[in-house]
Amino acid sequence: MNAGGIGIDPQTAAAPVLARRDLEIIANMVDDGSRVLDIGCGNGALLDYLGRNKGVDGRGIELSQAGVNACVANGLSVIQGDADTDLEHYPDDAFDYVVLTRTLQATRNPREVVSHLVRIGRHAIVSFTNFGHWRVRLEMMFDGRMPVVGDEGASWYDTPNIHLCTIRDFSTLCDDLGLTVQRALSLSRSGASRKLKSAGAAANIRGEEAIFVLTRE
């Protein structure tokens, strides 16, 4: 890891490129100069990008200590913490955006986590792998084994991903919580994104990944 590196110098640094398509799309959703909390921020790629390119006041929470140390050594404001236990300490409306990317499936209580996201942030942006995707369905049907999508090959017994859902499942949760879905996108394998129309059956089959923007009202 680049231990002593400079984190956020817009003058000298070349504009970084986000390797993940979902992060790229999310970065474009965030207003310049806003306050962003990235939960499960990993190596801080999104925060770094937003800091450099959009003047965002960014904070992160990351479970892995190695990830946290790398982020802080890179000049980012990140704490070691757990989405399941640490969100309750944040006040209401502390951030413009609270971002949770590819992390919801690893939380113990996704419903509570989503409630906290929209409480802490004026907007919550959630990305997740869609387990209603046709390839997952086919694998289940023909292989008869649990899907390992986005799981880097971990088996069912050692995966951290314990709460898998489909686009339709997630939409239902949002309805149950009385949340407004401001925007919803599905992403195909090629990275093409399309607007979701009320969690239609087609999107739930075609989308490999989904991004939802939620608000309380």
Partner: protein
């Protein structure tokens, strides 16, 4: 290597000619202490390294620990050893003196130049001894703020320190949020735990049980409670290490002998080591100062001033925090740091929190821990960008 100095009472005015700088503070108006008493004028002994920028925006205050001093980088005049944080402070180090102006002040109540119980009470012409007012962490910080006024520095770019230094950092950020841009409390806590108060009490009782302590009047009577102070240091030193580190360093190895002596000599290396720690400590530290400074730590409880709610100490703060703890530190365990992080989250403060994996215990903040140093470097670099400090 500079010549060593004798700070024992027999040397008379031990502070005269100490290297570094001294400022006489609270000259016009005495400083009010948390105890309700006042003090002043008093001396603050300090050192600086690096150069203060024209706009005075690059000042970093290093707060030292219980038995630390202002010789953060330059050789300690008493021990002749290099500065206690030379791994952290200096050209190209995390606290880069080519970039930052680093200040370190001997705390009020200390015994290396700043006014403390060893000094002469102007009203009596005798050493203060136990007539010296009880000092708190808040009082130490207030004294440092007066020094900054004296130096014409409105805002510190960073306040940083480990252990008792971390307490001062938290006090700074809470009491003077406008004067602190970033704060790095390392291996610290927002209040001293019952266990830590207990260890301090053992140390104090060891000093007070020494017949040469003379109810704190040993200077007047020309003696020095070295035995008691040495035992206090030995007990405390154990708390700065970890079981793993002690085992690795000494195990059950014997000291310069092939078999146990069936007596009470230092048979084991660890005994010999502790005795050495104790006997060298008494050459550089004053027993009454040890009482006063341990007391200051015991009284520290940042939440207490805010109806028991720690978050209240940081309401609306704009300070950028970086909290650091060490996995094997059982004196100031990570959970204490986590409590500070939770309080800062509760006010949506800008906070980073890193726990460094090490088996070196509490003292890890003084030692060569590359990941720790990388954390401090990276945090300061990020803060410097936000503060608009010129890069190197």
């Amino acid at each position: 290597m500079t010549a060593t100095r004798d700070i024992s009472p027999a040397s008379g005015d031990a502070n005269a000619g100490l290297p570094g700088l001294q400022a006489e503070l609270a000259r016009d108006e005495p400083m009010r202490l948390d105890s309700g008493e006042t003090i002043g004028p008093f001396t603050a002994a300090y050192t600086t390294c690096g150069e203060l920028s024209a706009d005075k925006s690059n000042a970093v205050l290093v707060c030292h620990a219980l038995t630390g001093d202002q010789y953060v980088l330059e050789n300690n005049p008493v021990t002749g050893k290099p500065g206690w944080w030379e791994l952290m402070v200096g050209p190209g180090k995390p606290l880069d003196t080519e970039r930052y102006f680093v200040i370190c002040v001997n705390v009020l109540g200390g015994c290396l130049g700043s006014t403390g119980p060893r000094d002469v009470n102007p009203e009596t012409g005798e050493p203060w001894g136990l007539d010296f007012p009880v000092i708190t962490i808040g009082d130490m910080v207030r004294a440092q703020a007066l020094l900054l006024d004296h130096l014409g520095i409105d805002q510190l770019f960073c306040v940083i320190g480990g252990s008792m230094g971390a307490m001062q950092v938290l006090e700074w950020a809470s009491r003077y949020p406008d004067r602190v841009f970033s704060a790095v409390p390392i291996a610290g806590a927002a209040r001293h735990s019952a266990q830590n108060i207990a260890f301090h009490e053992v140390g104090r009782q060891a000093i007070m049980a020494d017949p040469d302590w003379r109810k704190g009047n040993y200077l007047r009577e020309g003696v020095n409670p070295k035995g008691g102070l040495s035992v206090a240091r030995m007990a405390a030193h154990i708390t700065y290490l970890s079981e793993t580190a002690l085992h690795r360093k000494f195990g059950r190895r014997l000291q310069a002998r092939d078999a146990v002596s069936f007596g009470f000599d230092a048979d084991f290396q660890v005994e010999s080591y502790l005795r050495h720690q104790g006997s060298t400590f008494v050459e550089r530290f004053d027993a009454n100062s040890y009482l006063y400074i341990t007391r200051a730590m015991d009284y520290f409880d940042l939440a207490a001033e805010h109806d028991g709610v720690l978050a209240g100490a940081f309401e609306g703060t704009a300070v950028r925090f970086c909290i650091i703890s060490f996995t094997s530190d059982w004196l100031f365990p990570t959970e204490e740091s986590r409590e500070i992080v939770r309080a800062l989250n509760a006010v949506a403060a800008n906070v980073s929190f890193v726990e460094i994996d090490t088996d070196k215990g509490h003292d890890a903040f003084l030692l060569d821990e590359p990941e720790f140093h990388a954390t401090v470097s990276g945090f300061l670099e990020g803060a410097a960008v936000h503060r608009g400090l010129a890069s190197k």
